[in-house]
Symmetry: C2
Amino acid sequence: MSGTYGNLPEAVRIVEVAPRDGWQNLGEFIPTATKVELVSELAACGFAEIEVSSFVNPRAIPQLADAAQVLAGLETPAELIRSVLVPNRRGLVAALESPVDKLVFFISASDTHNHKNLGCSQADTLVEIEAMQALVPEDRARRVSVSNVFGCPYEGEIAYDAVSRLVAALVQTGLSEITLCDTLGVAVPDQVYLFCASLQEQFPEVDFGLHLHDSCGRALACVMAGLQAGITRYDSAAGGLGGCPFAPGAAGNLATEDLVSCLERMGIATGVDPEKLLAAARRQAGIVRAGNSHMLAFTAGCRQ
Amino acid sequence: MSGTYGNLPEAVRIVEVAPRDGWQNLGEFIPTATKVELVSELAACGFAEIEVSSFVNPRAIPQLADAAQVLAGLETPAELIRSVLVPNRRGLVAALESPVDKLVFFISASDTHNHKNLGCSQADTLVEIEAMQALVPEDRARRVSVSNVFGCPYEGEIAYDAVSRLVAALVQTGLSEITLCDTLGVAVPDQVYLFCASLQEQFPEVDFGLHLHDSCGRALACVMAGLQAGITRYDSAAGGLGGCPFAPGAAGNLATEDLVSCLERMGIATGVDPEKLLAAARRQAGIVRAGNSHMLAFTAGCRQ
């Protein structure tokens, strides 16, 4: 045998985002007690972190209106990071009353999408993030997810320089954990590699992660490019659920089962128990299918 | 921007296999005239080659019983290679009476699967291939597709040495075009890279190609690994149709739309017109859906 494939890491951290990104689009409300059970089952799988919910306007995302109740009902392993999305100070204040370990801010690499998703300009969101940073207590971690880094349904491809300037502005607010999101699922591997390699070189102090959607079947190909560029933190959603309500054409997230089975077979440790994960994804599938029979695109991921 | 992603080729050849691998499993017979129309539409997309049908036992694969009639009815561009699968001398003799440019033999890297798929041992198939080689006229090209190279539903992982020995035996029969097939869709990128890099080093005279199924969402990730190892020939099926009747658990082929859209956006030329391809895949989807409503797993590939 000859040759080695890239310069791959020995381990990655997986952030399970089904309870937040996967469920937010579902038409039928999942009862709070069921959410608590499903998140608890996912929490037992060994994830580094779970995005449990969002403290957003319940009129915009009614499915996640029970964020506080879900967090209050959860019993999770001590080492699991429970994170929630917060769009602004109002959401942040509410989130800080709940047992959360990490606050996740979000902003879009596309100003047009930022308006649609957050109701204001990218510049206004930067100001809001700075204001939130001043309010977060020292003992709570924080991250920012940058959506549409690799393409936007309204603005098309986003130039690297625009992404780099936005990252610099976010670093300026004191953030050092940034997730680069392919909200639409249009990224290609060489683009992912170049963006990740360049951003890490430019911002060596930042912990960059990747959030990929599988609209065009490229998510795992982009993970490989990310790994080769040295990225060791990946978002994914059990069952491949997901899709941004304000990003038409976006399909589901990279399925956690597909990510874990691929990485583990490559000898890259994920910390996630594949059997428990499959059981959790199947239970979720039953609940989601029952309440949302229109979701034909749903797959349970790897059939292995 | 820093870094370059792998050492990628500037162009690839795509072998469209939907008419053969994609349709062979469909329960409802596609009328011969419809097949001719669909293959003609695919032929106009710019593929290097189309696997048009198989000269196999019509009782085993009734869908492809009209191979001769389809080939007789086709009008395709002069540069398009029309290939057909032949399992044995009986199929070969029939195929040679049709206007075909290339004969595709097949054998399995797993002896158990070879028995199920071809009804005899791997050793017997090697003898049959040798006998067929003696019968093929000089002006007809030939290839062999080796199934289950990266894993078998019956034997599990296949050792590299077993694959290498089989390739050596096939080269011994005079073959110099070999497709490595992940019939189940269980390959992982580092395995694909290692197998491809090693086989090419060991057999520099052989033109190796890859045939990938997307059962676990890894097909494009494996294409990237193949590209990085220098492989420039890929099978794929419009609409992601497919699945071997004797490989339980296998899902559809890598969708040609997904392959073409990804490669073209990376600046790797495929020769395929993406608009014509999408139109052909959509027309096929309408026909396949109408006659095979059980195929819920079917997707039209990239939604872009």
